[in-house]
Amino acid sequence: MLVDIAFVALGVVAVLSGAAVFVVDSMARATYALAVSFVAVGVQVLFLQQSYVGVVVILMMVMEMAVMAVYMVMFMGMNPALMPMSMVHSNRTAVATAVLTFLLLAAGILVVDWPARRGSPPPEVTEALGEALMGPQMLVMAVISPVMVATIVAGVVLAAPRTRYDRFGDDLRQRPPDDPQPGGVGR
């Protein structure tokens, strides 16, 4: 019972903090609200016996939100992150869409005759995950790795304005590199 109450309470927290993301008046606060929402869900996942995944979610989101906050301040030069602001369009449509979506989903969730549970959770959840990753689902994880490579490459390509040829010259022989601000190890 207590577990139920806690679970629902966490859910309410997750929803409300999620909503807060778009209500609070600065980006930094929005970031934190999002983090709260994630943490709440992460705890819920823990409730659902997925300790490993739950922890991963929590840790990852805290880190990510920290990055995001820094990013807000650093890259968005005008520094809107700390200033109250509202940048919203088509608010009515958005509200309508969201509400409709929710009603549709909720109706479905409540009306559907959910099937009974198939099987029972393995005794060692995390171990089972590991075995699945090394077994039937190996391909999935194997593909995730090129995706990560791709993300790194693509992210750098998009984000970095300067290439190695800007730094080291067309033949990569220019030393020291031509950087706008000197830095790095040993400088």
């Binding site: 689902q137 693509a154 998009l158």
Partner: protein, 469 residues
């Protein structure tokens, strides 16, 4: 045959491509800017090798790898061949456009990674593999689109990314729902539990997954990024993103609907989306003045045609071979059209093509073949594809779909003809770039691919035999 074995050797083409991407990436970082063509050679070699392996695998029997999550059958084989060869053609186009650009090797790496994703999608026999395949195809695309760093490229990348993210989430939601009610993600075990599961959940899940695949394919309602990306990205990249990822997505969609139970009217849904795609694409293409944007819209409509055999999957023997044939024909034809635009990178208005017919008859002829091919004029490959897909639709009792395909073909004629008409119109003096000679690699690529598109049509019997093997 032991279906529960790993057999990673069956995934050799994908592995080769991934390794090729890494090699290109690493090699590029040690090469002077003007000698990055070496990485192009490396990438080409990887593609050729992968194609060869795919061909070998195609000759072999159908097999499943990675404990049933990946199938190597004729569909995979044809998709692998077409995708790798298509990517090879894109590399040829890139030889003009980005030769010596600072991001050249990264571009090749991303191209190869995305191609790998397409192959994964094409062979995926498991919802989770579809999900990761989706990611692997999409993520490099965002990078490729924005790689030139221009304002329009940035905008196109932003839109593609945001749409991709949304549809990725929908895809994952769909997978979650389907997994929830069936307890598995493997196609092999999906049909029976789904037939017994609550229809609403299955419907929502299928729509989610299908939505994701439609994003990759560029069909309605996830088509918004296609014309933007085609216009905003570089020529070679535009050629790539309107062609290669589709191959995997459409084949994946075909596999997906094959695993669905008959309790759901999914053929109707796919059919309606197909019609929506072809109609919206054709109508919207009508008034375009930028050739690449026009081609972008045209691919939206082509996806509509490609979805026709998906609609009738399992209901007509013609469905699968016609799909593969259409894919092959479409790929080569669309690449030919894009090759012409990369041959004239500065002609970004249809009117700028005035007089090309007289000055560069071969290139103009290639474009004519490509455009008429896209219309579906015999004997080009797309015609055979369109014919057989239409026949398949009719054969399966979807005569209305066949009729709509033909009607849409008529509408499409308008805008393709506008371009052709411009080619042979008298040149005007207002376009100073008229003096630009066409880029050599693109030029020959255009001619070769256009010829190939006719050849594939004429030799479609052979391809058909392969596809039905």
């Amino acid at each position: 045959m032991d279906s529960m074995a790993m057999r990673p050797a069956l995934l050799l083409p994908e592995i080769v491509l991934f390794l090729g991407a890494l090699a290109a990436l690493l090699g590029g970082s040690f090469l002077p800017r003007t000698r990055q063509w070496v990485t192009r050679v490396v990438a080409s070699a990887a593609l050729v090798l992968a194609a060869a392996m795919a061909a070998v695998a195609l000759a072999g029997p159908t097999a499943v790898a990675m404990e049933g999550s990946f199938t190597v059958d004729p569909s995979t084989g044809v998709a692998r061949l077409v995708a790798t060869l298509g990517a090879l053609v894109v590399l040829a186009l890139a030889a003009d456009e980005i030769d010596g650009s600072p991001r050249e090797s990264e571009t090749y790496a991303l191209l190869l990674l995305s191609t790998t994703g397409t192959l994964v999608l094409a062979g995926a026999d498991d919802l989770l593999v579809v999900a990761v395949g989706f990611l692997l195809t999409s993520v490099p695309l965002y990078g490729l689109i924005g790689i030139t760093g221009t304002a329009v490229a940035a905008e196109a990348a932003m839109k593609t990314y945001l749409l991709g993210a949304l549809f990725g989430i929908l895809l994952l939601s769909g997978v979650t729902l389907l997994y929830g009610v069936s307890g598995t993600t493997s196609y092999a075990g999906l049909a029976d539990p789904l037939a017994a599961a609550p229809r609403a959940v299955v419907a929502a899940g299928v729509v989610g997954v299908l939505g994701g695949l439609l994003f990759k394919a560029g069909g309605v309602p996830a088509h918004f990024w296609v014309p933007d990306a085609a216009q905003g990205a570089g020529g070679a990249v535009a050629a790539f993103l309107t062609t290669v990822p589709k191959i995997g997505a459409v084949v994946a969609a075909y596999r997906l609907v094959g695993a669905l139970p008959d309790t759901l009217a999914w053929p109707l849904l796919v059919g309606v989306l197909a019609v929506a795609s072809m109609t919206v694409g054709n109508l919207a293409a009508y008034a375009q003045t930028d050739p690449r944007r026009l081609l972008g819209w045209s691919t939206v409509s082509q996806v509509g045609y490609l979805l026709v055999p998906v609609t009738v999957a399992g209901r007509s023997d013609l469905a699968l071979p016609s799909l593969l044939l259409y894919l092959a024909g479409y790929t080569v034809t669309n690449l030919a059209a894009f090759a012409v635009t990369t041959a004239f990178p500065r002609r970004r208005e249809l009117s700028a093509y005035r007089g090309v017919g007289r000055r560069y008859p071969w290139l103009a002829a290639a474009l004519v073949v490509a455009l008429l091919g896209l219309v579906g004029t015999p004997p080009t490959a797309v015609f055979v594809g369109k014919l057989t897909t239409t026949a398949a639709a009719w054969d399966a009792g979807y005569a209305w779909l066949a009729v709509l395909v033909l009607l849409n073909t008529l509408v499409s004629l308008f805008y393709y003809l506008r371009w052709i008409a411009a080619l042979y119109a008298r040149p005007t003096t207002e376009h100073p770039e008229d003096g630009d000679p066409p880029a050599p690699w693109s030029r020959w690529t255009a001619v070769v691919t256009a010829g190939l598109s006719a050849l594939v049509g004429v030799g479609s019997g052979v391809l058909w035999a392969v596809a039905t093997a």
